[in-house]
């Protein structure tokens, strides 16, 4: 499979409109504007496209809810908050192929009946902001955005909204709060954003990578698209691999590529001939896997059957020099820092987990601390307002599940037994 989403990114001018058009760009939009909006949603349904932001929600279903709501105007928000640690898959689209996203959003906006779109871009991507703003300007100049797109009477306006360094704003209702000029704290659901979203209007939030699939689906049709990758969960997928592999980086592969193949074939295995110890397959919030559990197809349907989740497709590979208590502690430091403070189990729980992990790591752990961790985590799961708190607790549960002896040794030896 050649690159679809990351087509031409080796070309230094890939972000330019003329280059994008040279390789067939905006043909999908041209085609879409000749179709009925409902027919576009049908194609997306046939394509079996699932959201790439982490949850894998079927895109056509979300769109159908929003387009059925009679309130106007509707909004389309692109989630470019990419904050899940280990994730750097949207950044190459934003920086090197911005027009595929703009085209995808315009097609989506037309299909939904949304006339306004915002790209919610994380604050830590300043280069992407300038590149996107320039690409949007070019698109307006060529009548690919505006009040009468390509002379077809279709209206879609697009702007970049810059976040300011809060992971929780990746959660869609917190993102909406932040767009509206508030602290990024999640809203209660229902009502769902598809009915009451940005500015109290029907709103669809989709990930950068999700929306960037639209031009190709328009080009080849839903049925042909559905033949790529996993039958349960089709399409191309950008995996991003970091840590102790020989060739880290972004790889666009068919959805469902086995985790072992990604690590061993595409990334050249463990760097420096070391031994694999653990893999976090989908960003820090997804369950860690030990080396004998990596024969799993990396898609939304199959990963849960193998004890983890696809998440953002951010694979963090660790060799046997890495201490699991230390990684778990660092992860919880992250969650404590990013907890928005709205609900007690997460606000307090993340701090306690971090603190107990910290003392175990420092060689000051007490007997019973591991059960205490499990007890705190157990009191968070299912009781937090949004999935951030659940994610934090399950990280601790899964590290202990697979690496309990290492935690116990820290407590017994009053020191770190790894690598030293």
């Amino acid at each position: 499979m050649g690159n679809i989403l990351l087509k031409n990114i080796e070309n230094p001018n890939s972000a330019e409109l003329c280059e994008y058009r040279k390789s067939g760009g905006y043909a999908g939009l041209q085609k879409a504007l000749g179709m009925e909006p409902k027919a576009i949603i049908d194609e997306v349904k046939k394509a079996g496209l699932r959201g790439r932001g982490g949850a894998g929600f079927p895109v056509a279903m979300k769109w159908t809810f929003a387009s059925a709501d009679p309130k106007f105007p509707k909004y389309l928000l692109c989630n470019a908050d990419e904050g899940e640690p280990g994730t750097f898959k949207d950044r190459p689209i934003l920086e090197k192929n911005p027009h595929i996203l703009i085209e995808g959003m315009t097609i989506s906006g037309y299909a939904l009946g949304a006339e306004y779109g915002y790209i919610y871009l994380r604050g830590e991507y300043p280069a992407a902001k300038d590149i996107l703003n320039k690409a949007i300007k070019q698109a307006y100049e060529d009548n690919l955005l505006g009040d009468n797109i390509l002379g077809k009477g279709v209206k879609f306006h697009l702007a970049v909204h810059q976040g300011a360094g809060a992971y929780i704003c990746g959660e869609e209702t917190a993102l909406i709060e932040s767009l509206e000029g508030d602290k990024g704290q999640p809203r209660i659901k229902p009502p769902f954003p598809v009915n009451v979203g940005a500015f109290a209007k029907p709103t669809v939030v989709n990930n950068v990578e999700t929306l960037s699939n639209l031009p190709y689906i328009m080009e080849i049709g839903g049925e042909a698209y559905a033949k790529i990758g996993s039958p349960d969960c089709p399409g191309p997928k950008i995996y991003c691999i970091s840590g102790h592999v020989a060739r880290p980086g972004v790889y666009e592969l068919p959805m469902g590529t086995p985790l072992r193949e990604i690590i061993e074939t595409h990334c050249g295995g463990i760097k420096g001939g070391g031994r694999l110890k653990a893999v976090i397959p989908g960003g820090i919030s997804t369950p860690v896997l030990p080396p004998d559990k990596i024969d799993c197809p990396m898609d939304f349907v199959n990963m849960p059957k193998h004890g983890s989740m696809l998440g953002s497709g951010a694979v963090i590979v660790m060799d046997d020099t890495v201490c699991m208590v230390k990684v778990c502690h660092r992860a919880l430091k992250f969650f404590e820092h990013e907890s928005c403070g709205k609900c007690t189990p997460c606000r307090e729980g993340t701090g306690w987990l971090r603190s107990i992990l910290g003392r175990i790591e420092q060689g000051e752990g007490n007997e019973g601390d591991i059960d205490l961790l499990l007890s705190v985590a157990g009191n968070m799961i299912g009781k937090t307002f949004c999935p951030l708190g659940d994610g934090a607790a399950s990280v601790v549960q899964n590290f202990i599940k697979h690496f309990r002896p290492e935690f116990e040794e820290h407590v017994r030896l009053k020191a770190c037994p790894v690598g030293k």
Binding site: F88, P126, Q162, A164, G165, A166, K183, S242, G243, P248
Partner: protein, 156 residues
């Protein structure tokens, strides 16, 4: 009393037009204020809140919620080093020590000459080329002690 320049007022008004409410322009306006005044001083909050007609308490609540707004003056150049897992397992902590020992830069601190501040970051989306940092708005990846020396040399 500090006030915005005429160009900045125009810039914020233009931003305002991108949204259906003025409240939605709060985050971008705080960025503009930060750029103009260097940090979000009490006067900066007043200026933003007056211009957008958003209560000052709200502007401050928002400005203190997000990590990228500066609620105290920082050094001329802000070194933002990631220490999250992918960077940590490739040596980010060693780099934190290096910045402390060689430049006297503590996490959250500023050098005595006001040249650098150090902010420890969560993941900045450069994990495949870890360890990574931003200096002001510029990305630097595959960091080593030697490379950091070369980079910081450019920021006076």
């Amino acid at each position: 009393m500090i006030t915005f320049s005429q160009t900045t007022i125009k810039e914020i008004e233009e931003i305002r037009r991108k949204y259906p409410t003025s409240r939605a322009a709060l985050l971008p306006a705080l960025y503009v204020a930060q750029r103009e005044f260097g940090w979000l001083s009490p006067e900066a909050y007043t200026a933003v809140s007056d211009l957008l007609g958003v209560p000052e308490a709200i502007a401050r609540g928002v400005g203190t919620f997000y990590a990228m707004y500066r609620n105290k003056p920082l050094g001329r150049h802000v070194v933002q080093l990631c220490t999250n897992v992918s960077c940590m397992i490739l040596g980010a902590e060693r780099l934190v020590d290096f910045l402390k020992n060689k430049y006297g830069l503590e996490p959250g601190g500023t050098t005595a000459d006001g040249r650098f501040s150090l902010v420890i970051m969560e993941c900045i989306g450069a994990c495949g080329t870890a360890p990574a940092m931003l200096v002001n708005d510029d990305f630097y990846e595959n960091l080593t002690e030697k490379y950091i020396d070369e980079i910081l040399e450019k920021y006076r």
